[in-house]
């Protein structure tokens, strides 16, 4: 029997970690992720987990300890955000390159500077080429569900890649919501026992991690990483289906909301997808129909599923909670446009950069986006390809 609790995103992340019961957690607190580490430490102190908790002096060390633990052959987890993720950077790439199935909770926060502790996606979007799988969560329930699924996705033999479970700092991390918590035993059985492929501590089968890899083989190892990401697409789908069986909650690469009913679509990742759903419901009553395509999986980018979902659509607004300075639009926008390039009949796609540094994004803002989509639909004219929602002129 699942229990129903009132928990914040951070609390529920710590609760998922308690149930996953990793062998090693190495983490350093940083706002707004702090309560993940704090609550999980409590579980360690109370003897509710068998985890070896390593209290490191920095995020660089946190990820290094996770790499060491995972290579040694145990399940390792951590959590961070923003500048903490930035400080991990070097080892973030190494974790993916060594093919270590580490799972990390990321409470999305704006990168300094100027210093800001509130939500945007600049931290994890910056890590989009690091070789980590990235799942974005809309609410507290999804933080919990994604973390549990992440363990199984990461450890799949055809994948063996680390996973970031991203959730909006403060908006999710500090908001109390109703969440369904599965039984400990159910979670334990779902993730199963960790069977490492190449444990360093297996003395009968000695392996070397991290040797020099020059022009003659480095490229081949990167090609393997590309393949593992491709494989992750079907594994994420499979794990989602298995998870639905134990939880009753459906998880796919992308989520469609009122998509069939309209030829206008908004694409978003994270908590704003919830704001968009509320807007869609409100507008529906007034006879205006708009659909949402929520990006749950950003890495690997589910381009086939997105292309199919956008078939026959007329206009699309892509919401990016991070700016890619000097690029022609935000990271999600670029992926969407690239996905549609081969299509003969493709929708008009515009970009909204929004919510940087925690700037509030409300139903009213989303209504403006819908207004603009309606205008584009009517006139076929795009005033601004890339617009900044909620910024003052």
């Amino acid at each position: 029997m699942a229990t129903i609790e009132a928990m914040t995103g951070d609390e529920v992340a710590a609760e998922a970690m308690r149930q996953i019961n990793p062998d090693v957690v190495a983490a350093y607190p940083i706002t707004p992720q702090t309560e993940v580490v704090q609550n999980f430490s409590q579980s360690v102190a109370n003897g509710r987990v068998k985890t070896e908790m390593i209290r490191v002096e920095s995020e660089h060390s946190a990820m290094s300890a996770c790499v060491g633990a995972s290579a040694a052959g145990v399940r390792a987890m951590t959590a961070t955000c923003a500048n903490g993720l930035a400080l991990m950077w070097e080892i973030v790439y190494i974790a993916a390159s060594y093919r270590l199935p580490i799972v990390m909770a990321v409470a999305n926060r704006a990168l300094s500077g100027p210093i800001n502790i509130h939500c945007d996606h600049s931290d994890s979007m910056g890590a989009r080429d690091s070789g980590w799988i990235q799942l974005y969560s809309e609410n507290c329930q999804e933080v919990y569900d994604n973390l549990i699924q992440a363990v199984k996705i990461a450890e799949d033999k055809s994948v063996l890649l680390p996973v970031m479970v991203c959730f909006d700092g403060f908006i999710i991390s500090h908001a109390t919501e109703r969440v369904e918590i599965l039984d400990d035993e159910k979670v334990k059985n779902f993730i199963g026992e960790f069977k490492p492929q190449y444990p360093l501590l297996d003395l009968n089968n000695p392996v070397t991690y991290g040797p020099l890899d020059l022009f003659d083989y480095y490229f081949e190892h990167k090609r393997q990483q590309v393949e593992a990401m491709e494989n992750a697409i079907s594994v994420i789908e499979k794990v989602g289906k298995e998870y639905e069986k134990i939880s009753g909650r459906k998880y796919e690469l992308v989520e469609k909301y009122n998509l069939e009913a309209s030829d206008m679509v908004i694409i978003a990742a994270g908590s704003t997808a919830g704001t968009i759903k509320a807007t869609i419901d409100e507008l529906k009553e007034k006879g205006i129909n708009v659909g949402l395509l929520k990006i749950r999986t950003f890495r690997p980018f589910p381009h086939v599923q997105i292309r199919d979902a956008l078939k026959d659509k007329l206009c699309v607004a892509v919401m990016d909670r991070s700016a890619s300075f000097g690029a022609r639009g935000g990271p999600i926008f670029l992926e969407i446009r690239s996905t549609l390039y081969e299509e003969k009949k493709k929708p008009v796609v515009v970009n909204y950069i929004y919510g940087l540094g925690g700037r509030e994004t409300t139903v009213e803002h989303i209504k403006k986006v819908v207004d603009n989509l309606s205008k584009i639909k009517k006139t076929g004219k795009v005033d601004r390809l890339i617009d900044y929602l909620g910024v003052r002129e």
């Binding site: 060594y98 492929q197 190449y198 190892h221 393949e227």
Partner: protein
């Protein structure tokens, strides 16, 4: 050694076969070649102890020369030799002779 494709090698740059560095020839990296003067050498084997690439050939406790297919020419053997029995000679000189 024939180079393998991405489907044929272990993931993550892992080495699953201990000691396979022997198969990876690094002799071509060398700019200076160590040459031993057998008249000065006492086979104290300090060079054997210090060589980072296991490139000192020892038979019956006697220093017999160098494994040039692995020696990178770092010159540590020359530096540690108490009898100045090892000289580092420019590799190009040998290549001219070998031509």
């Amino acid at each position: 050694m024939k180079e393998k494709g991405w489907k044929e090698i272990p993931i993550g740059g892992l080495i699953l076969e201990p000691g396979n560095a022997e198969k990876y020839l690094t002799g071509s990296w060398r700019t200076f070649r160590p040459v031993v003067n057998k008249e000065k050498c006492t086979s104290c084997l300090l060079c054997w102890i210090y060589c980072p690439d296991d490139s000192i050939i020892v038979e019956d406790e006697q220093m017999k020369g160098f494994r040039y297919e692995h020696c990178k020419g770092c010159g540590i053997c020359k530096n540690v030799c108490p009898f100045k029995a090892i000289e580092m000679v420019e590799e190009s000189k040998y290549q001219q002779i070998e031509k």
